[in-house]
Symmetry: C2
Subunit: 605 residues, 2 copies
């Protein structure tokens, strides 16, 4: 039943050599990998205006130079990351680049930062998308946590099905969003050119009394949240069709251009239409209603905006499992993140991301807006480290013509480093927790790594000398009475060893005597040892007995405890049996150095 449900949700299992088919072409890659970056358009300009409005509407003109600043930063980042893609053709995520050039620890800072960030991405994006939906249908407001959780569940299932199929489903909304925003920009520009806009525009360049550098930097760093998601392409190079690096670089540049045009378009329109941020309506919504009125185009734009925010979460579902895979390959995460599932995706990473982001949504009751600065900082730290790694690489290797790309990476690194510092200074109250969880995550990475290395040392075997050495063996069979189950178990034990002890735990003298007498009559060829229990526990006397056996036997002998297990015809029959077996097995696992043999007894009814 479970299997059938799984098939229905996930689809048929796929062979390993079908892996090639799952690679992405440029258009699909753009859809899968850029929704996070593009969705930032929905709130990037607004974040800038929200800071400036503190100084009055007269200060809003600053949004234009700040937006150009963000655009310049975007250009630098794209150029910088383009170089990374060509250098790291098998996947140049910040983790790889930083580890490769700046050492393991720096790599782990980048990797840990991104890993946590992907979880935040899912939580923040699904919550924001839920907000968009509940703004349209206020009746759903009280179910917001449930809606966000449903989104996460949907994304998890889509991604477990495999990325190509997901890409096909996800392509249309992403392109619809791009078309919608471009239509908005063209329509808005047309109205403005034809002189149909009669809004009060703040005077460009007007002096604003009391404006501080701190405030402008804060506004700039807020605008930088529009750049989150740019790194997705370079992390996902192995997912591209061949030639992967070229396709990835093209995709990155396409994404950069679209993002830049959309972001600047929105910023300029906001200025031209004299729009100030409002608590009850988003900037995009204000522009849309000013340009098109509250008609079908307005609702179309709002709908695709909600959709793109939902899909932004999907970027994390593409990126997280890959990063986890790389960390697991380097033994910083458990092996299970390396296993490809039935549909060739890294199922464990997908499920892990789904669960953690769902917990985050539940913990914050769907109000994850305050996590946005933390999330942005979590992106800019690996940005910085990745570019610093590239700088180091150029200096160390000095290939022909290395200086211009070195300069580009240096410029990029300095810019993102500055933004990190600006975040820390201007928004410390929102981002200080990074000093808690980043060390924690890295500590976990190192602990896991240490354990796997210890394990490898311990399990290493010298083929020449370490051969198996058979030893003696004694088998212990706990019995509760004389039944077919006991006969079955003893038969099995006798096929393995001559040294068998049946053990009976009795609670009172009467039952003990009865058992001893019956055993003698039956005479199965196995001696019976009777233990008395004063605490109605079967496990504890048995334990003591096994200790004694281990002590009496030579140290080299194996002790096997045979536990019968009923295999029932119907699942609910399990509730009627096997409790003692389960308990016994759990205790023996945890405490004793004995072998446990489970002997199934299949019930006919």
């Amino acid at each position: 039943m479970v299997t059938r449900l799984k098939r229905f949700l996930i689809g048929r299992p796929m062979k390993s050599d079908e892996l090639g088919e799952e690679k992405l072409n440029k258009l699909k890659a753009l859809a899968v990998l850029s929704s996070d970056a593009l969705s930032s358009v929905a709130y990037g300009t607004e974040q800038i205006l929200l800071v400036l409005i503190a100084m009055g509407t007269v200060a809003l003109w600053y949004s234009i130079p700040i937006s150009f600043g963000v655009l310049a930063l975007l250009t630098i980042l794209i150029l910088s990351y383009r170089q990374t893609i060509y250098t790291y053709t098998t996947g140049g995520g910040a983790y790889i680049v930083a580890k490769d050039n700046l050492g393991t620890y720096t790599g782990l800072v980048a990797g840990g930062s991104l890993l946590v960030d992907y979880i935040l991405t899912v939580a923040v994006s699904t919550s924001a998308s839920t907000d968009a939906i509940t703004s349209a249908f206020p009746v759903l407001h009280e179910h917001r946590v449930m809606i966000a959780l449903l989104m996460i569940l949907t994304l998890t299932i889509l991604n477990l099905r495999g990325i190509t199929e997901s890409a096909t489903i996800l392509m249309y909304p992403v392109y619809l969003f791009v078309v919608a925003i471009l239509l908005l920009i063209i329509g808005g520009a047309y109205q403005w050119v034809t002189g149909n806009v009669h809004a009060q525009t703040p005077t460009y360049g007007a002096a604003v009394p009391g404006i501080t550098l701190f405030l402008l930097l804060r506004a700039f760093s807020s605008g930088c949240s529009a750049l989150t998601g740019v790194e997705a392409v370079s992390n996902a190079i192995p997912n591209f069709k061949e030639p992967a690096p070229r396709n990835a670089a093209m995709t990155l540049i396409m994404m950069g251009i679209i993002l830049g045009v959309m972001f600047m378009g929105i910023s300029l329109l906001a200025y031209a239409y004299g729009i100030a941020p409002a608590a009850e309506e988003t900037v995009v919504s204000q522009i849309a209603s000013a340009v098109f009125g509250r008609g079908i185009m307005y609702y179309f734009i709002q709908a695709v905006t909600a959709l793109i925010l939902f899909l932004a979460a999907n970027t994390a579902f593409a990126a997280f499992p890959l990063l986890a895979f790389m960390l697991a390959k380097d033994r910083f995460l458990p092996n299970m993140f390396m296993v490809r599932g039935d549909r060739l995706g890294f199922s464990n990473g997908i499920i892990f991301l789904g669960i953690l982001s769902a917990l985050l949504v539940i913990a914050f009751g769907g109000e994850t807006e305050n996590l946005i600065p933390l999330y942005a900082l979590g992106v800019f730290i690996p940005f910085t480290l990745s570019q610093a790694g590239m700088m180091k690489r150029w200096i160390t290797k000095k290939p022909p013509g290395w200086f211009p790309p070195f300069l580009i990476n240096t410029l990029g690194m300095l810019t993102t480093l500055t933004i990190c510092l600006i975040f820390l200074i201007t928004k410390f109250s929102h981002v200080w927790t990074i000093f808690l969880f980043l060390p924690a995550v890295i500590f976990i990475f190192l602990k896991i790594n240490q354990h796997y290395r210890d394990l490898a040392d311990e399990l290493r075997l010298d083929i020449a000398t370490d051969k198996p050495r058979p030893k003696g063996s004694v088998i212990v069979i706990p019995v509760a009475g004389i039944t077919q189950v006991v006969r079955n178990t003893i038969s099995y034990a006798q096929s393995l060893s001559d040294d068998i002890i049946a053990v009976y735990v009795g609670f009172d003298e009467e039952s003990i005597k009865k058992m001893e007498k019956k055993w003698e009559e039956w005479n199965p060829g196995v001696r019976l040892i009777v233990l008395r229990s004063h605490y109605r526990s079967i496990v504890r006397p048995l334990f003591k007995f096994i200790d004694t056996v281990e002590w009496k036997k030579a140290e080299t002998d194996h002790v096997t405890v045979m536990i019968p297990q009923f295999i029932t015809k119907r699942w609910w029959h399990n509730l009627l049996h096997n409790q003692t077996s389960l308990l016994l097995r759990a205790y023996l696992f945890a405490r004793q150095d004995v072998k446990i043999a489970t002997v199934p007894y299949r019930l006919k009814k």
Copy 2:
């Protein structure tokens, strides 16, 4: 850690022969067993008035004859149950009495009815108690489900500790409640006698236009909810100190007198003070504030009322595990309900009751008032069956002087049967679900019984002829590489059998060749079989292979699969290992008729 927490909450384990100490003396028994019955005083009169007020305040005088009717019914029930206690000295619950005299099915109707009823008792009483608390502290209102759940948790822990200790804790509030209500009655009577009451009393015997028999019966049946809990004493005879029947009978009569006095007192005061039921204030609260004013006595009465409702739930915690034990002994419930825990209580029954009532509270969001009629009916069905059983017994056995007790039981049976019918007729919309769940519960009882009987047939063994028969044996060891773990497992296998096959599941030709070569070099004296997997699954190819082995070998041979299991030093290391082992074991358990031997490998670090 878990063990230490358990010790702290539950206390040290107790020996079986300490059981005697846990027996109850009369005073403690009265506290443990009567809180359910006595707490009914808090709402019994009110239930009657609530029905009558539909005809206006002029109809309220009917509460006096109706209350006397309920008192008469109480007297009959007490006398009737007193006879049961003396006849069934080892515990005369409705289940036993009905089964014994009217057959198994009737017994199961009574038992199932009571079992469900105890769950309702806990849910209804804790919710009602929560209401009392939140009425006093409205700020807690939004946490009512949490408070009710905390109460259930507290009761579960207290009962897991053992009944005597619980009794000691619970004695004081019960007696405080009795004292408080008696003080209220005395105070109220004194005020009335001294002529200090100037309330408008409805004229006794005044004609009420439009009053119907249906309405009066409905009021009477509502008043009967005050009698729930009376059966607790006769079910719990084995918990009494010797002479158990005499002590139980005395306790029953004491309880009946106290209950009767308190119930009539409240009813008479309500009439004398001209009190009408109000939505926002309970009848007891109205009387208390009329008699004492809103002073310290008033709050004292309210507090102990809240407390007694909480303790009423405890009656169910005493009764449910005992009934479940009896049903399990007769093989109608799983064996686990027969196991006495560390502290000699029937832990599984206690935990089961706690969980089910908690689920009920959650499902109803703490609003369980509508369950009260269902809960009352669930008590009167076993009342009726129990007394019918006693009637049958007198007629069949005809001991000397059997006729007067037969008459008493007949009178009791007819009365409770009538009340059942009144409930069904006047409150059908509240109680119809009993026609769903009572058959369901009985169906489950019978299914379980059938299964255990089939099992006993299947496991029965002829001592003279059914001896163990050793057969051949083959051991299969899945290997993932050549490590100390594999060496350890092979060493162990060689101590048991000469027929050992190592199986390697490879995903690609390269790794398969490497493995084959290395194995040859190592030469552990065990042949290696290589399986190719196209779906990255280790389990499926292994399965097919085991099927082949089973088919190739003689039918009589045992197939053992040895699965290595890392025993880690720290609990979290488990997350890094054993996933494949777990999966393999789960699959093999569910589908294959093979023996599974778990071979521990203890990690040093």
